[in-house]
Structures are given as structure tokens and as C-alpha cells.
């Protein structure tokens, strides 16, 4: 006979204000099997938990029902509580009378009635609960970092530092990401390359880090602790082990008209190229879309000049499959395309540029060698107009991104300041909606741009930019001054909104990690678990989770690394015992369950069974690997004979709940 204890929580007034907790406790005491029923202000408090533990011992309870907040909140807490009192933690059920009852109903009578029914359902279920023991699954002590920007590099370095091997998969031929393209960083104005490239070198020299560049993740299988990931390493037509990075091939290649993506198409590179001087790995790659040899079989100049004999026109994509215990997503961001914002004449004039393009125009390694020149005629610009929030803070949908891109206010202040410092003969206008500078030394930085460098900050958006007679006619409104402005500018710089990298969405599907409507990865909890995905074993680093500046990205990268290290130091993980379990006597061996299992947890064996008249029958029966099974239950419905059942959510348990609710 079951001996069930019922504990009704007031949750202060959260439950007690709308649910008559005393009546619930009294009514549920009458349910069959219930030997003890009580109520208390805060069941999750230490006193409340002790109350439960004492009751378990005193009344020799065989099952516990707690009527309280959502099981998503405190199921784990209460499982520990009952376990400490010697009860199997799975002999506990929670009736959610807060989120699903007291908080949504106003009428006390109705809410009390519903709370009783929810309690009854939990009692009906707990009658059928079986003690379950959690299994263990091993942890592969290796991490995968997807994306080799500053976020990925920092995470990898921190994990490697703790002694665990880590692979970085980068889709470009070099790591470095967006930060490598940036000229100076706010609010200190130190050069981005000076602080990034040492980290890139550290990563390449760290024994624990394996950089798989020019590669992408193709397939992800498994689960936390034992992921199996297939990585496609694209053919770069250069043997990485032989290439010395001397760069001779990139000087001799006759195909000179390839837009240089590192400089955002502002200049050209060759068909064989090293993205930039400090690239890691410093190995050339051939662009198959432009290489004459690969396209028509005629040329071969690079192979002739390469003294190391590294050129291999026959190189093929390579598939690498490796096992990992944890995966970190660090896929970063891209500025949005600006074709929808043609009022700013981005596609009409080369002198209208994005801020990232402007970084290259200011950079000593950029297309102009660091001298600010107008892309159209190479002249020195005198009047520069910055437009903020291009495509950010819109109404969503067609208009643009609904979020604030966060970094634009600061980098625009930085750009304005740098121009004024280098070229005091310029007039710089910044059109803003709001200036947002929360961050250490950020507002001071912005104020310096205004006060010391004389940048004209004007509240109001630019309405239209018209290229005319070599100038850019900027029409804007000074909302605070109450006047319409028409500025003849030499250059217009647009602070384009940033969005997640395009590869993030398909990756999220492979990882079964959830995303928001903007394709940013969702964190497990916005406040308390900001660097973990809700999918176990998947961690988030950098701008793939939301717009971030460099200091924040690095902080989050290290936080993600700490979480990964915390996982990898474990030898095994406790798995949920709520897994599928077949009844061999009823199993047809028909493979229906195997076909719907997303984890490949089901296999079949031929097993002898005693037949009639002392004969032995060999039958094919299903076996579930409890370490692999995640407990979704797809198999239980696919099984026609009902041989497959799910522990913790068995057919009988769910039907008992249905019965209790519908009675």
C-alpha cells in the first residue's frame, strides 16, 4: 500500500492569495493512499524542506507530492530534499499550482478547485512512480569551438590553458574574425591588431589547440559528453604542412582582379592569397572561383614559383570526424546588407561606406595605407557625416532589425575622434537618435569626442543622401535646434546594424540549439545561465548570442570556457533515468521504434525465449542504450504493441493523470 505525503506551498502570498491552501491540503488528504497532508509558507525554504524530510521519516512515506511552483523551477531542489530523507528522488511529483493556477486565476473558489484537481493528478501519477536510478555517461575530454574570431580564440585559449584539447573550426582561411579587420578599439584607442594577433599566435602555438581553418561543421551527432562532429575541411589547393607563407605566389599570380574580402572589396587581391599579413595559419589558399588553372587548366604560375612545392591543384575537400564532450558556438556577426536603405545612397556612391569599410579605410594595412581618402577620387575629405542606427531599432520585418546593435554609438564616436585627431581640417557630423554609452569609460569617451575634438553631434536622423556634383547632399533635421540641415558632405559613413552570421541558423539546427526570431542563439537563462544554450553541452560565446563589443565578448568567451572546463573535468555525467524501456516479452522486433529514434539509442538483438512445449524461440527484440536515450518518447508511440514505455512518463502514469483530471 502506498503511503503518500502531500505538501501544499503558499509561496508567501503568490499561491495563498488565490488558492485556499488549507482546503487543498484537507481535500487531498482524503485521496486514496495519502497518509499525510499539510501546508506551509515556503516549501523550498530550509524549514520547508526539513518539514518534508521529517514527514518522510515519521510517516514512512513511499511517495511525495508537492503542490507548489512549476517543476521547471524546483523539481531538482525537491528531488534532492527527498533523497536526503532516504526516498528515491523519482518518487516525487510536483503539482504546478502557481504558474498554472494561482497566477492565472483571480477567483479563489475556482483556483482552489483547480489546485485540488492538479494535486489529484499528481497523486494519481505518484502512485505509479517507480524508483529510478540515474545512469552515468562518459565525457570525452575534448572541446570544439565553432568560429575563430576573438570569441572563439579566447574560449579556446582558456580551455587549453586548463589542460583540455580543443579544436577551433573557422570557415575562413584564417582565424581572427571581425576584430582583425578593425583599426582601433574603443575606449582606449589601442590598435586592434596589436592586441589580437598575439592571441592568434598563442592559439596556433598552444599544444592543446588544433585550428581547423577553411572548414565548416557538416554534421553533429550525440549529446552532452559525447558529441560526434563531422567537419568539412575545404580544399585550399595548398598543402598546409608544406606552405611556408612566404607569399611569393600571391605576388606572381597573374589573376589580379579578385575583390579582396578582407578589405571588404575596397581593393583587389590575387586568385592565390593570404588574407592578411598576420594570418593564422599563415598559409596561402587558392580561390577556385577565380583561379585560371582550376577553371581552365591553363596557368600553373603559383606551382612554378613555389619552392616548397606546396601547391596541389588536385586537393579535395576532406571530412574529419571527431568526438567532443562540449561544443562552443562562436559564430559572431555580420553587418546587414544595406540595399533596403537606398535613401542613404549606399549603392549609388562609393563615398557612402559602412563603418566596417571605414575601419579598413583608416587602417595602415588597408587599401589606402591608412590615409583617409575618398574611395571615388582619392581626394582628402573635408566634411564627413556619420549616420547612426541604420537598420537598427526598426519596427522589424521589412524595415530592419528591431534591436539596438549596441556597438555603433561607441565605434562612431571612435571614428569621429580619430578623424578629428588626424585631420583637424575636417568637419565631422554625427546624426544620432540616442547616444548609448553604458560601459566603463564609455560616456567619458563620447564626451571627449564632443568636448575635446569638436565633433558635431546632432539629434535627428538623416532623411536623404543625394550624390550630386562630386558631393553628397545630406538632408537632415536638427530636432533639438529645430532647423533643417543640408550638408554638402564628402563622405557618409553608415553605422549598419549587425546580425548573426548566416551560418548560424543551419548550425543551430544541427546542434538542436534554440534561436530567437533574429537568429541569435538563446541562452539557457537570460540572467543566470547566459553562456549556456538550453541544449546540454552547447555553450555560447560572443556575438552569436546577441550584439556585443570586444570587452564583453572576451568576458563571455572566458565564461563559456569556464563552463566547458567545469564539464570536461568530470569523468562522467549523471544521465536522466527517464529513458525508454522495452518489454521484451511484447516486443515484435519490427524496428518501428528504431526508425523514429533521433539518437540512435535503439538496437536489436536476437534473444532466446522459452516457447511452448519446452522449445526455445529466437526472437528479435529491441534494446535501449540508457546513456544515449534522452527520453523523448517518440518510440513509445511508434511501437504498435506498446512494448516500449517511457520511465517517469509511462503510459499508465499519463493515463492516471488524465483520469484524475477528467474525473
Amino acid at each position: 500500500m502506498q503511503r503518500i505525503g502531500v505538501f501544499v506551498c503558499w509561496c508567501g502570498s503568490n499561491i495563498a492569495a488565490t488558492v485556499d491552501v488549507e482546503k487543498v491540503a484537507q481535500t487531498l488528504a482524503q485521496e486514496p493512499g495519502v497518509v499525510y497532508s499539510t501546508h506551509y509558507q515556503y516549501m523550498c525554504s530550509q524549514a520547508g524542506q526539513e518539514m518534508i524530510q521529517n514527514a518522510i521519516r515519521e510517516h514512512r512515506l513511499t511517495g511525495v507530492v508537492i503542490c507548489s511552483c512549476s517543476p521547471r523551477m524546483h523539481e531538482a531542489t525537491f528531488r534532492k530534499t527527498v533523497e536526503k530523507a532516504g526516498l528515491n528522488p523519482y518518487l516525487l511529483e510536483i503539482a504546478n499550482i502557481r504558474e498554472h493556477c494561482s497566477w492565472i486565476h483571480k477567483d479563489k473558489l475556482t483556483a482552489t478547485e483547480k489546485a485540488v484537481i492538479l494535486g489529484r493528478a499528481a497523486i494519481a501519477k505518484v502512485q505509479l512512480n517507480a524508483p529510478l536510478t540515474a545512469g552515468q555517461s562518459p565525457v570525452t575530454k575534448r572541446a570544439l569551438v565553432i568560429g575563430g574570431g576573438i570569441a572563439g580564440i579566447q574560449t579556446a585559449l582558456d580551455i587549453a590553458e586548463a589542460g583540455f584539447p580543443v579544436d577551433i573550426v573557422e570557415k575562413k582561411p584564417t582565424i581572427g574574425g571581425k576584430m582583425a579587420q578593425i583599426d582601433k578599439t574603443f575606449p582606449t584607442l589601442d590598435c586592434a591588431a596589436c592586441i589580437l594577433t598575439p592571441k592568434m599566435v598563442d592559439a596556433s602555438q598552444n599544444e592543446n589547440i588544433d585550428i581547423i581553418s577553411y572548414a565548416q561543421v557538416e554534421k553533429v551527432q550525440g549529446f552532452v559528453g559525447s558529441f560526434s562532429v563531422t567537419i568539412r575541411k575545404k580544399a585550399r589547393y595548398v598543402d598546409e604542412t608544406k606552405c611556408t607563407g612566404c607569399g611569393l605566389c600571391t605576388e606572381k599570380c597573374p589573376q589580379k582582379k579578385v575583390p579582396n574580402e578582407f578589405n571588404l572589396g575596397l581593393d583587389n587581391r590575387r586568385a592565390i592569397y593570404i588574407p592578411f599579413a598576420q594570418a593564422v595559419p599563415k598559409v596561402a589558399a587558392i580561390d577556385p572561383n577565380y583561379c585560371t588553372m582550376l577553371k581552365s587548366g591553363k596557368c600553373g604560375v603559383c606551382a612554378k614559383v613555389c619552392t616548397a612545392g606546396a601547391i596541389d591543384y588536385k586537393q579535395q575537400d576532406q571530412l574529419i570526424t571527431r568526438e567532443y564532450g562540449a561544443i562552443v558556438v562562436a559564430t559572431g556577426f555580420e553587418p546587414i546588407r544595406l540595399d533596403k536603405f537606398d535613401e542613404f545612397a549606399y549603392s549609388q556612391s562609393p563615398d557612402v561606406v559602412t563603418s566596417l569599410e571605414f575601419e579598413r579605410l583608416m587602417n595602415a594595412a588597408g587599401p589606402t595605407g591608412g590615409t583617409l581618402l575618398r574611395p571615388s577620387d582619392g581626394s582628402h575629405p573635408h566634411t564627413l557625416v556619420f549616420v547612426q542606427c541604420v537598420g537598427s531599432r526598426c519596427d522589424g520585418g521589412e524595415k530592419g532589425k528591431s534591436y539596438c546593435s549596441k556597438i555603433c554609438c561607441m565605434y562612431t564616436a571612435k571614428h569621429a575622434m580619430l578623424i578629428r585627431e588626424k585631420y583637424p581640417d575636417t568637419e565631422v557630423y554625427v546624426f544620432y537618435i540616442d547616444v548609448r554609452t553604458p560601459g566603463k569609460n564609455f560616456d567619458e569617451f563620447y564626451r571627449r569626442a564632443v568636448e575635446e575634438y569638436g565633433v558635431h553631434y546632432i539629434k535627428g536622423m538623416v532623411g536623404k543622401v543625394t550624390p550630386q556634383d562630386g558631393k553628397l547632399k545630406v538632408q537632415a533635421s536638427d530636432l533639438l535646434g529645430g532647423r533643417q540641415l543640408r550638408i554638402d558632405a564628402d563622405m557618409v559613413i553608415l553605422a549598419a546594424a549587425i546580425e548573426p552570421d548566416k551560418t548560424a541558423r543551419p548550425l543551430a539546427t544541427m546542434l538542436t540549439a534554440s534561436m530567437d526570431t533574429n537568429d541569435f542563439f538563446t541562452e539557457a537563462h537570460p540572467k543566470l545561465r547566459p553562456v549556456e544554450s538550453p541544449t546540454a553541452g552547447i555553450f555560447l560565446s560572443g556575438a552569436c548570442q546577441g550584439p556585443k563589443d570586444i570587452p564583453e565578448t572576451v568576458a563571455q568567451a572566458s565564461a563559456a570556457a569556464a563552463k566547458v572546463i567545469g564539464l570536461l573535468v568530470k569523468d562522467s555525467l549523471t544521465c536522466s533515468p527517464c529513458t525508454a524501456k522495452p518489454d521484451e516479452l511484447m516486443c515484435n522486433g519490427c524496428s518501428s521504434c528504431e526508425k523514429v529514434c533521433p539518437y540512435g539509442a535503439i538496437t536489436y538483438i536476437d534473444k532466446p525465449f522459452r516457447g511452448p512445449n519446452r522449445t526455445t524461440l529466437i526472437r528479435r527484440v529491441a534494446q535501449v542504450n540508457p546513456a544515449v536515450c534522452q527520453g523523448c518518447g517518440a518510440c513509445t508511440v511508434a511501437c504498435p504493441s506498446g512494448a516500449m514505455d517511457l520511465q517517469g512518463f509511462s503510459n499508465q502514469q499519463i493515463m492516471a493523470e488524465v483520469d484524475a483530471i477528467c474525473r
Binding site: 518489454d583 516479452l585 511484447m586 516486443c587 515484435n588 522486433g589 519490427c590 524496428s591 518501428s592 526508425k595 523514429v596 536489436y604 524461440l617 529466437i618 526472437r619 528479435r620 511508434a638 504498435p640 504493441s641 506498446g642 512494448a643 514505455d645 503510459n651 499508465q652 493515463m655
Partner: protein, 324 residues
């Protein structure tokens, strides 16, 4: 055909290709043909029949028979071979223990069709060309064979013999069939009419389990309705709900596995058109998830064990396909 089938069966036993033959023999009445296992050529020559009343689908018996010692030869009509393949797909039949002989089929006759033609006191029937000569207590009558076909054979979907080791007669192909006409007629009714139709049909159910026992897809080691742990165990339907429940669950369990052999309706002593439930699901699956024929091949994935991200939402049913 009768002679060729019998000779083949006898030869297979005599040559030792098999130790047993699964075929048909006449039961209490001449039209009451039942499945039987023969172990000698003599048994075959004296008892085995192959005539227009050999409706029973033998494939299901292979689940048990193929587990026994020695090889068994089986005679399968085209529609039976679909079940044969489907059961193999579900790993229920040990193929290496079976010697499958496909038999050309021109459609089976049943007594209901003869009665519908106005024939009473039928004592025997034999085929002569395209005609059927029926002996009755009131003398001999000749009827065109196709008019005496059982209802299911009139909408035969395929004369193809799948996965046979040998074929007697000619291999056939898929046929154009309007087997969904009855389903469509029901769909065209109002919900009230449909409810009334199924109530009047299913209320006849006596839960004899004949449909379940004959169905090649209903071959579970233990049926959920016999399993106390399933929560739906019941031996006899106690009220209209349980009459519905049994048939809904049964239809659902065989969805994607039912080859539409029509045995359920054939054996129902109450004459409930049970195949109309299965056919509805087949029709829906074809329409919603692309054409699929259970047992037609070994490789295709059954629709209930597959999906595409573009599948229609359930709201196309709950909101009404025609926007009702």
C-alpha cells in the same frame, strides 16, 4: 490453375526444397476455404485446393511457420505478397526459411457476390473461361466471372507478385483502381451523417477479434487490448465508446503498415466495412505525405515513421480542408 498449384506443391515436397507447404484446403463448405499446412505430397494431392474461393491471405502464418524447423513453401496471391514484403520489412518473417510461390490471380469470388446476383442454394462453382458455372439446388447457372468477384477484388490495386522465388501463371502490374470511392463518399457526408454511419456499423461489433486475428499487420506478440499495462485492455466492448476505441486504435496501429488486403472486412461476421477505416488513413497519407504503398518494396520509409519539415499542420484537419 488448381492442378498446376497442386503439382508444384507436391513437387516441392518431393524434391525436398521444403518440408512443409502452406496452402488452402476446403473447410466445412465448398466456399469455406481455409489455410492449411501440408507435410506430404499425398496430403497435398488429396486436400489442397486452389480455386476462386481461396481468399485467405497466407502471409501472416509465416510469422510462426518461418520460425519452425525446416523450410516452408507458401502460395501467395498478388495482394498477399504485399503483406509478405511488409512483414519482412518489419523483420517478422525469416525469408531464408520460406520458399515463396506467386500465383497469378484473376480475382476471388465470394458468396456475398453470388447472393447479390440472386443465386440461392449454391452447392459448387467452377470457372470456365470468363464465366462461372454455379451449381445450385435449383440447377446450374452461368454468370460472368467479373460479376461474381468479391468487392475488394473489383478494386484490385495490383496484380504484381512481389518477392517470389517462383511464379505460376503470369506476372502482373499495378492497376488503376478507384478503391477510395467509398471513402470519398463518406467524406462527402456531413459529420452527423458520418457519425450515424459509423455508429450503426460499429455498434454491430461483437468484439470477436476476427479482424485482429486475420490482419497481417495485427501480428503483435501481445496486443495492447490484451495487455493489462496498456491502460486500454478490454475483452469486450462495453459501450459505444469502446466499440469506437478498439477500431480507432486498431486502424491507427496498422497505419502505414496496412497493405489494404481487405481481410478485416472479409472475415467480419457482422459485415462491418472495417477496411474503410484503413483506407481512409491510406488515402490521407497518400495525399498528405506522398504516395506510399505498404509492402510494395523493401526500401521506402513508412509515412508514420518519417516526416518532412514541410508537412502540413494538423490544423488542415481541425480547421477543415475545405475551410468549413
Amino acid at each position: 490453375m488448381q492442378d498446376r498449384v497442386m503439382e508444384k506443391a507436391a513437387a516441392l515436397l518431393e524434391s525436398g526444397v521444403c518440408t512443409r507447404v502452406l496452402g488452402w484446403k476446403t473447410g466445412e463448405f465448398f466456399y469455406d476455404v481455409t489455410p492449411a499446412v501440408f507435410t506430404s505430397a499425398e496430403e497435398v494431392r488429396t486436400q489442397m485446393v486452389y480455386n476462386p474461393f481461396c481468399g485467405p491471405n497466407l502471409s501472416k502464418y509465416l510469422i510462426a511457420e518461418s520460425r519452425k524447423e525446416g523450410k516452408i513453401a507458401v502460395f501467395l496471391k498478388p495482394c498477399d505478397t504485399f503483406s509478405f514484403v511488409q512483414l519482412q520489412k518489419e523483420h517478422r518473417i525469416a525469408r531464408d526459411k520460406v520458399y515463396a510461390v506467386g500465383v497469378q490471380c484473376d480475382g476471388m469470388i465470394d458468396m456475398d457476390s453470388l447472393k447479390a446476383l440472386g443465386l440461392r442454394g449454391v452447392t459448387a462453382a467452377r470457372e470456365v473461361g470468363d464465366n462461372l458455372i454455379v451449381s445450385t439446388l435449383y440447377g446450374e447457372k452461368t454468370v460472368p466471372r467479373r460479376e461474381a468477384l468479391s468487392l475488394r477484388c473489383r478494386v484490385c490495386k495490383s496484380k504484381r507478385l512481389n518477392d517470389c522465388d517462383e511464379i505460376i501463371g503470369e506476372q502482373g502490374g499495378d492497376l488503376p483502381s478507384d478503391r477510395f470511392a467509398q471513402v470519398e463518399a463518406l467524406e462527402a457526408m456531413t459529420p452527423e451523417e458520418r457519425f450515424a454511419f459509423w455508429r450503426s456499423e460499429l455498434s454491430k461489433c461483437i468484439r470477436c477479434n476476427a479482424c485482429r486475428n486475420v490482419c497481417p499487420a495485427c501480428s503483435c506478440e501481445k496486443c495492447v487490448f490484451d495487455n493489462p499495462g496498456s491502460g486500454v485492455r478490454n475483452k469486450a466492448a462495453a459501450d459505444s465508446f469502446e466499440e469506437n476505441l478498439f477500431h480507432i486504435i486498431r486502424a491507427f496501429h496498422v497505419a502505414g503498415r496496412c497493405t489494404d488486403c481487405g481481410e478485416c472486412s472479409r472475415v467480419c461476421p457482422q459485415g462491418i466495412p472495417l477496411h474503410l477505416l484503413n483506407r481512409k488513413l491510406i488515402k490521407d497519407m497518400n495525399q498528405l505525405y506522398g504516395p506510399y504503398q505498404a509492402g510494395a518494396d523493401f526500401d521506402s520509409k513508412p509515412p508514420m515513421l518519417a516526416f518532412t519539415p514541410e508537412d502540413p499542420e494538423a490544423s488542415i484537419i481541425t480547421n477543415g480542408r475545405d475551410g468549413q
